[in-house]
């Protein structure tokens, strides 16, 4: 119980801090918000339930007014803005990522994390994010999707990074990848 609460709280804090660490850049100089990486990582490492709870806790603190989102944003406004759908999708994205890693054990860890992060962090997340965007901007779903397409390659790279990180974590601390225990 105490261990789980501590893990959930520390991962919520980790998601917040991933947005604060200055300038993590990809190989070709594109700055990424490591925050959505943190969402996928929470699911992949903590598993579906704890991962989703960590993200929910993080969003709760954003909602009550702490500036924990990338760029120091926070408060209730971000949930009502055009990208609010993405925020609402995050707990489910972490849950789905963790669920796939937990259930799909016949493939190597890295492969299941990559597929989980793609389905949770990209397919599910964008589906909900695009619905929110189309509501806020008064555009059709297809039009809203076209606005978001440019961000998908970056997120595919993040899914790869999350897979690599989870595999390294399982080597450094075999007991730390709770989704496979």
């Amino acid at each position: 119980m105490e261990k789980n609460v501590a893990l959930i709280a520390l991962f919520a804090a980790l998601i917040a801090v991933l947005a604060l660490i200055p300038k993590i850049t990809l190989g070709f100089g594109v700055p990424i918000t490591a925050q959505s990486l943190g969402i996928m990582l929470a699911g992949a490492v903590l598993g579906s339930k704890r991962g989703a709870l960590a993200v929910l806790l993080f969003l709760l603190l954003v909602a009550v007014g702490l500036p924990l989102l990338a760029g120091g944003r926070g408060g209730l406004g971000v949930f009502f803005g055009p990208t609010g759908g993405f925020l609402f999708s995050w707990p489910l994205a972490a849950w789905l990522t963790g669920f796939i890693v937990e259930k799909w054990r016949s493939v190597p860890l890295g492969a299941s994390v990559f597929v989980g992060a793609i389905l949770g962090g990209i397919v599910l997340s964008y589906a909900m994010g695009i619905v929110g965007l189309s509501l806020a901007l008064g555009k059709s779903l297809i039009e809203s999707t076209s606005l978001m397409l440019v961000f998908i390659p970056g997120d595919m790279i993040k899914a790869l990074i999350v897979a690599a990180l989870t595999v390294s974590l399982s080597r450094a601390r075999p007991s730390s990848v709770l989704s496979r225990h």
């Binding site: 501590a6 190989g27 990180l165």
Partner: protein, 204 residues
């Protein structure tokens, strides 16, 4: 850590937080039923006046929080200009700005402690099902404490990277950083247990 709640005290700071949140939900749903650009322009003006009343510092902080909307305003403006429906574009933009500005206004005029009191009130039904809300309250406090701790550790990792490498810090830093966080979670978990744990039945 600084909350987004405004240091400029307003009368709205003393209104019940739950009431403000409920009113915000009603108002946001209501916004989607307003089709007239004139009424929406009135709503935007009223919100601007509400931002301006507590003084210049409050207005500046409030407008800064709305900056994230600029890219979307530009997208909608260009889009609507291309399809030649500028009035509809104005309605979309004013509705979007009003929704975010209203929510932001509630955040700015509500103290963190009042918000957390609402969270505690909202989770009371859970206690009836035998779930402990003490865990949630400890977790909230832990995150607020651990964000600066982890920021500090992340900063030190970045510095040691810079001391050794000529390239800029990459995503590889996330691995030792996550390990540090997991180790901290171990220690915090032990410390919580040593101090009586969370499972005991206590009235909060």
């Amino acid at each position: 850590m600084i909350s987004l709640s405004s240091p400029v005290k307003t009368a709205a700071h003393d209104w019940p937080a739950g009431l403000k949140l409920a009113a915000l939900c009603v108002a946001t749903v209501g916004l989607f039923y307003i089709e007239s650009p004139l009424i929406l322009a009135g709503v935007v003006t009223a919100i601007l006046i509400a931002y301006a009343l507590p003084g210049r510092a409050f207005l500046r902080a409030g407008l800064a929080a709305l900056k994230l909307l600029w890219p979307f305003i530009v997208i909608v403006a260009i889009w609507q200009a291309v399809i030649g429906e500028l009035v509809q574009g104005a309605v979309i933009v004013m509705r979007m700005v009003s929704a975010v500005a209203l929510a932001n206004l509630v955040s700015m005029t509500t103290r963190l402690s009042d918000m957390i009191a609402v969270v505690r009130w909202l989770t009371t039904p859970l206690r009836r099902f035998g779930l402990s809300t003490a865990a949630l309250e400890i977790a909230i406090a832990l995150v607020i404490r651990m964000v600066p701790v982890l920021t500090n550790k992340g900063g030190r990792l970045t510095e040691s990277w810079r001391a050794r490498a000529t390239r800029r810090p990459s995503w590889r830093l996330v691995l030792p950083f996550t390990l540090l966080a997991l180790d901290d979670a171990d220690h915090v978990g032990d410390a919580l247990r040593a101090r009586g744990g969370l499972t005991s039945e206590r009235e909060t």
